[in-house]
């Protein structure tokens, strides 16, 4: 490839990936409505454009395959042959070949992806069928006709693309960093203004505050993408898996226009796919069993996203067989993860969360679908890594529901600054449920663990002094101290701190290099006075 072309490679990959996703989506719709000519036209157009793009770039294999698809689709859209399940299947398979082809291009190495078998299949699918209509394998859909026959939807698409620009994510990150610095410096100016009581400065600072606020909001918005970016792939996942397992599934998606930080969206894909596969594979029963249990033949799986005060709540619900907490606990005992005594002391919710322990699998047999790759433990770890939480609700025989709560963005958060001795630490406000003022003598010890009773409930405590290697708090002192009650997922602890400092909007900076493995610390931030303050990794100190 010439150097000139390679510059466009990234662009091609990202556009082609988008096309592939749209192809998948439209094909799924076509499967439900095979007579829909508009859809067929849309699919044809997508394949045609894909072919054109690949040809311009000189990617032979993609061009050939897309061309072959286009031929088949042309016959279909001219209604010279009927859309059959076989044809749809072949088209799906062709998309499955296109994907590794794109990866091949992206990686720049020849991965020997073979397309001959697929192209033959595309050709044969019409011929082998005893034609229901005249089905000559028509060869030449000329580019000009395709160009003229633009559907309405394609024009609408055009309008949309004209108002957006593709930007490298790196630029957005830099922009975010700069805004972060601006916010820090603004805070510094405010402090100066307050210290020296300069009215004029304070007035223009108020103005500056408004502007930086809007700027920050806008920049944050640029980093947000709708969850449809990943959600759109899932109908295909469900369809394929349901077919494989001979299950009938009605898959619904809701709220795919909800926006999240790009990084979170990318990272959350894998866990979500895992949850979806679990729901289809283990959750939903086969039709016969469902009928026997008085349920509808078709299983229902619902994926929904919605905003909830500073959070995005993603919920995956199925009306399958559900889980029994006690069975899970029994299994954990069998596996030696748990003792009978411990089980007796556990709540049902705690038993349920056992499935998120590494190496726990409830499937009687490990299938190649849900038994491999990410486990529930990875789902939980990943969600918590983003300061999010995972909760499970389930009813034996009725179904399960997995709820993931994620913060909207990672870059700027609200935090409570606390003090231990002379050191200041930041605790993300989103984790905090309550702050309690106590006298140290109220702290009790159960099995060497410090606890406190809050409204008839025992709250385990973690001393921030201890976690960060500072001298222990003298329990006999009468001086007031504070418990910051935090929550991650279904876990709750109280963090003992000496005093509360302030509440602030902080810009999270990750620590790298030598500092990449800090314990109990998830990052750092810079305060208005230029001081560096470390952010407590709540999940890490639990």
């Amino acid at each position: 490839m010439t150097e000139d072309m390679s510059r466009y490679k990234d662009m091609f990959i990202s556009e082609a990936t988008e096309y592939l996703q749209n192809l998948n989506k439209s094909l799924l719709e076509l499967e439900k409505a095979p007579e829909n000519l508009e859809l067929l036209n849309e699919i044809f157009r997508l394949a045609h454009t894909m072919k054109g793009m690949a040809a311009t770039m000189g990617y032979q294999k993609i061009t050939t395959l897309a061309h072959q698809m286009e031929d088949l689709l042309d016959v279909l859209r001219k209604q010279e042959a009927k859309v059959t399940p076989e044809i749809i299947e072949v088209l799906f398979k062709a998309l499955d070949v296109l994907e590794p082809l794109l990866q091949e291009v992206a990686s720049g190495e020849d991965r020997k992806v073979d397309i001959t078998a697929m192209t033959v299949k595309l050709k044969m699918v019409l011929e082998t069928k005893p034609a229901e209509g005249p089905a000559p394998a028509k060869e030449t859909p000329t580019d000009s006709t395709a160009g003229e026959k633009k559907t309405v939807s394609s024009e609408a698409d055009k309008k949309k693309t004209q108002t957006s620009v593709r930007i490298n994510i790196e630029h957005l990150d830099n922009l975010m960093n700069l805004v972060g610095e601006l916010v820090i410096n603004k805070a510094r100016l405010f402090q100066i203004g307050a210290n020296y009581k300069i009215n004029e400065l304070n007035e223009s600072l108020t103005q500056l505050e408004r502007i930086t606020g809007s700027l920050q909001e806008e920049v944050l918005k640029t980093r947000m993408i709708p969850v449809s970016h990943i959600f759109d792939r899932y109908p295909r996942v469900v369809r394929d898996l349901a077919k494989l397992k001979n299950k009938e599934i009605n898959f619904e998606i809701e709220g795919s226009d909800i926006e999240l930080d790009r990084m979170i969206v990318d990272e959350i894909n894998e866990p979500l796919i895992h949850l979806i596969r679990n729901a289809v594979d283990h959750g939903i029963e086969v039709p016969a069993e469902r009928i026997k249990n008085g349920k509808s033949e078709k299983g229902n799986v619902r994926l929904s996203a919605r905003r909830e005060k500073g959070y995005v709540r993603i919920e995956l619900t199925d009306d399958g067989k559900g889980m029994d907490p006690h069975e899970i606990a029994e299994k954990a005992i069998e596996k030696g993860m748990l003792t009978k005594e411990k089980m007796a002391a556990m709540t049902e919710n705690e038993m349920l969360m056992l499935i998120c322990e590494p190496s726990f699998s409830t499937a009687a047999e490990i299938t190649d679908i849900s038994g491999r790759g990410v486990g529930m433990d990875v789902v939980k770890t990943k969600v918590e890594a983003f300061n999010g939480s995972l909760t499970i609700e389930t009813k034996k025989g009725k179904g399960s529901s997995f709820v993931i709560k994620l913060p909207l963005t990672l870059a700027i958060i609200q935090a409570l600054l606390v003090k231990v001795i002379e050191e200041v630490y930041a605790i993300p406000l989103s984790n905090i449920t309550e702050i309690i003022s106590i006298s140290p003598s109220q702290i009790k010890t159960i099995e060497k663990r410090e606890v406190i009773r809050v409204r008839e409930e025992i709250l385990p405590l973690v001393s921030l002094r201890e976690v960060f290697g500072l001298p222990r708090l003298d329990l006999n002192t009468t001086e007031e101290t504070y418990i910051v009650e935090v929550e991650v997922g279904d876990k709750r602890i109280g963090i003992i701190v000496d005093s509360l400092y302030s509440r602030e909007e902080i810009v999270i900076k990750t620590l790298g290099g030598i500092l990449k493995r800090t314990k109990g610390i998830s990052g750092a931030t810079i305060l208005g006075d230029g001081r560096v303050v470390l952010i407590v990794d709540i999940a890490g100190i639990m």
Binding site: N177, G180, E181, I184, N185, I421, E423, E466, V467, F468, G469, L470, P471, K509, L511, G512, G513, I514, L515, R517, T518, K519, G520, I521, A524, I526, G530, R531, V532, V533, L534
Partner: protein, 179 residues
Amino acid sequence: MIQEKKEEGTSQIVVFGLSNEEYGIGIAQVQEIIRPVGITRIPGMPTFVEGVINLRGKIIPIIDLRDRFGLTKKEDDANTRVVVAEVSSQTVGLVVDSVSEVLRLANDAIDPLPPTITDIDAEYLKGVGKMDRRLIILLDLDKVLTDLEKSTLEKLNKMAAEEGPGATGAKKENQAAAE
């Protein structure tokens, strides 16, 4: 030998003091020299990691080379400086006793074979520069830093293994530092 631009066979060296010896690093690697203020301690880190500072919006780790190399440590005074260096795309601050000057050394005045005049392991050295009657030990910062990362990881792993959760080892050290 030294990476910075060579003007007629010379190298520019930033010279600093570490427990009564003179050390130098190539000027190209030095970003700036600052005073050690506003260091935030990072709990649970080996003692040679003094903490982090805010360098114009960038958070950089501060390393005490004296601690790392087992040299005698001096209390911070008016001469104590932090040499901010960029090493393999990472910015770090190195605490030194003092920074004296920038020297231009003729390349033939640099002896590539490090003599046994210092306590520091020979592998971290690039050579020794001779100027008048002074000897300036030239540090190989890339090596020093890779080693720092490695030993940080090792220490953390060791602490985790020895103490289980809670890393009391670090606790004691830090406790001493805090008192």
